[in-house]
């Protein structure tokens, strides 16, 4: 039954652009898919207590590589994308390997990744001669101008990007599921509970953590490329740094990072909510939408740390089996194991 439901859902998603929906609707759908993918990528590591506040850095590193190679050397994004991914992987490795080796966890890991996000953002601004600094940059139009350029990945019709984003999101779900069903998941959960105990069982802590971090970084970087290529505009504030990194985290948390559909539900809610409030309040009360959003975030983290999808799931399970004992409730995002630094 679940299988059929999934296929039906997929059929609806594929059919959406063929029904000629309003462009604004299609635009939002694309954004939700891309942010859903980024959220999924983040939760690949976030669910194991590896809370990264620097995923914005991976967004920025990837897309700026693609855009700069295209603008400066005319290199097609098809070659730029692997190079950009490689750069993000390198960043993840540079931060992850020592961090996991030296057991930097919890707060400390979050703050180190936060610094990484800032490093990427400031580097982009510092290289303003080529990147345009805080003003942002636009990838050159493909010459001669055409409506559909697969070579430059520039499309006048939003449909193309819709399908690309859909494909990428599905791919990220597949990756998420692969991790969910692998032995690594058990290992990583053990690590997040107690790193020393896990190591004593013969789990290679550094390798396990590094693997999900690299996967997460690569997927995030692809998400950033989609954003940049779709918008055809890059800005360091919206593609790197602390603000955007926190937004990635929040969308994943609101939706629920312990379940596959959680992050996209979070993206749907945050984007839908924000756009809804924006159209409702219009030009009056600028900031009202975000104020309510911020308030909701706090409430969510306090009362519903498993996110909306997680809460619904728990509720359904409880109803399905009322006599059974309540589901084991790891109600909180799992801790980074005890933080060091008190000794």
């Amino acid at each position: 039954m679940k299988r059929w439901l999934q296929l039906a859902g997929l059929a609806v998603l594929v059919a959406v652009p063929l029904l000629h929906p309003p462009l604004y609707f299609l635009h939002l759908a694309i954004l939700v898919l891309i942010w859903g993918m980024i959220g999924t990528a983040w939760s690949c590591m976030g669910r194991f207590g590896l809370v990264s506040l620097g995923h914005g850095g991976f967004l920025g590193a990837g897309i700026y590589t693609v855009a700069l190679l295209w603008n400066l050397y005319g290199l097609t994004p098809w070659l730029g994308i692997p190079i950009g991914i490689a750069l993000s992987l390198l960043l993840a490795l540079a931060i992850g390997l020592p961090a996991f080796r030296f057991r930097v966890v919890g707060h400390y890991f979050a703050l180190i990744t936060l610094a990484l996000g800032e490093v990427v953002r400031l580097s982009i601004i510092a290289a303003r001669d080529v990147t345009g600094g805080s003003l942002g940059m636009t990838p050159n139009r493909v010459q001669p101008p055409t409506d559909v350029s697969w070579y430059a990945l520039q499309f006048a019709d939003k449909k193309y990007f819709y399908f690309i984003a859909l494909g990428c999101w599905l791919f990220s779900l597949w990756v998420w599921q692969r991790i969910d069903r692998s032995m690594s998941r058990a290992a990583l959960e053990a690590i997040s509970e107690d790193e020393v105990a896990a190591a004593s069982l013969g789990i290679h802590v550094t390798r396990q953590k590094l693997r999900v971090t690299l996967i997460s970084a690569a997927l995030t970087s692809v998400g950033g490329m989609l954003l940049g290529l779709y918008n055809q505009y890059l800005n360091p504030e919206s593609l790197a740094g602390i603000g955007i990194s926190l937004e990635i985290v929040f969308a994943a948390i609101v939706g629920g990072m312990y379940s596959a559909p959680g992050p996209i539900i979070g993206a749907l809610l945050t984007i839908g909510f924000r756009e809804g409030l924006r159209t409702y309040f219009g030009v009056h009360l600028i900031g009202m939408a975000e104020t309510i959003y911020g308030l909701l975030l706090i409430v969510f983290i306090i009362f519903m740390p498993r996110g909306i999808y997680g809460a619904i799931e728990t509720l359904l399970r409880r109803r399905a089996a009322p006599s059974a004992r309540p589901p084991a409730a790891p109600t909180a995002p799992r801790p980074g194991p005890a933080t060091p630094g008190h000794g």
Binding site: G49, V51, I95, P98, A99, F102, R103, V104, G106, H107, Y108, A110, L111, I112, L114, A115, L116, E118, V119, L122, S123, I125, A126, G241, I242, G243, L246, V249, F250, I253, L285, I286, G287, M288, A289, E290, T291, Y293, G294, L295, L296, L297, I298, F300, I301, I302, P305, A332, P333, R334, P335, G336, T339, P340, G341, G343
Partner: protein, 287 residues
């Protein structure tokens, strides 16, 4: 070879370090005692700046009265943050508390946008630039430096000479045992949060003298403040104080040789590397 401009950079770096030290003081206190990272700490500073702006510019209070109100205002914010956000989730993983205050960051930013708009506001007061033999020094920074030293000393006296201060230090050392010994940790946390907030207000008073306030000002100095606290060793006030000057020199001299952004990049990279080498902070004494 003596480079005159380099000297100026060093001196300005020293004074800039005063501002950073002041900024990190309150955060460090809360960090050390309650063991919570207020990601929204720099937004509490922003609240203090807006309090001064509101009272001084919009309501016409003299600055002398408006400035202490900034301390009161952000002190109240500190109490509220603790009571409403931190306390309900004090027993959950620390990362939850960090993220909840992250929500607060968005909330305060947007609330400021809602109330004041996103324009840059200033209190219309410009302090003179001092000149010693063609050496230019910002008076506002000199003032901030002085206040940072005084604030540091005051906090030290408060923690070491008063009864409450002693309780705070005791809780910071061992929260479980102190609870068993009959110390009301809840009150201690609350007082600490109030003092931490008030210190943010103190930083706000000095920042508003040299910078325009706008809703996103927190993002400009927030990250560097966290780095300093961690670099100095969480809760290690003296360590944080020294780290502030190390970082400010890196930034100031870096700006002199390369560019401002790159000097921040260097500072952040230094922070990351330092965390790998000495995760407990640069000035941690191994016991």
């Amino acid at each position: 070879m003596f480079d005159f401009f380099l000297l100026e950079a060093v001196i300005n770096g020293l004074l800039f370090g005063g501002v950073l030290a002041l900024l990190s003081l309150g955060l460090n206190l809360v960090f050390g005692v309650v063991d919570v990272v207020w990601i929204a700490y720099s937004e509490v500073v922003m609240v203090g700046m807006y309090v001064i702006y509101t009272l001084h510019v919009m309501l016409g209070w003299p600055l002398v009265f408006a400035a202490p109100m900034a301390l009161v205002g952000s002190g109240i914010v500190g109490v509220l943050v603790h009571r409403l956000i931190i306390e309900p989730i004090l027993d959950t993983p620390p990362i939850n508390q960090l993220l909840a205050t992250g929500g607060l960051l968005f909330f305060l930013q947007s609330l400021a946008t809602l109330i004041y708009g996103s324009q840059f506001r200033n209190i219309g007061l410009s302090l003179p630039t001092l000149e010693f033999h063609e050496l230019y020094i910002s008076f506002a920074r000199l003032l901030a430096f002085g206040v940072a030293v005084l604030g540091m000393a005051g906090l030290y006296l408060f923690l070491s000479r008063t009864y409450v201060g002693t309780a705070i230090r005791a809780v910071a050392q061992d929260r479980q045992v102190m609870g068993l010994m009959g110390v009301d940790t809840r009150t201690v946390y609350l007082i600490t949060s109030a003092v931490g907030g008030a210190l943010a207000g103190l930083a706000a008073v000095l920042l508003v003298l040299q910078q325009d306030v706008h809703p996103f000002i927190g993002l400009t100095f927030g990250p560097i403040t966290f780095m300093i606290c961690v670099l100095g060793g969480l809760g290690n006030l003296l360590g944080g104080f020294v780290a502030a000057f190390v970082i400010s020199q890196v930034i100031s001299i870096g700006s002199f040789y390369v560019s401002t952004e790159l000097s921040y990049v260097i500072a952040f990279v230094l922070f990351i590397v330092a965390m790998f080498i000495r995760p407990e902070g640069l000035f941690h004494r191994r016991s």
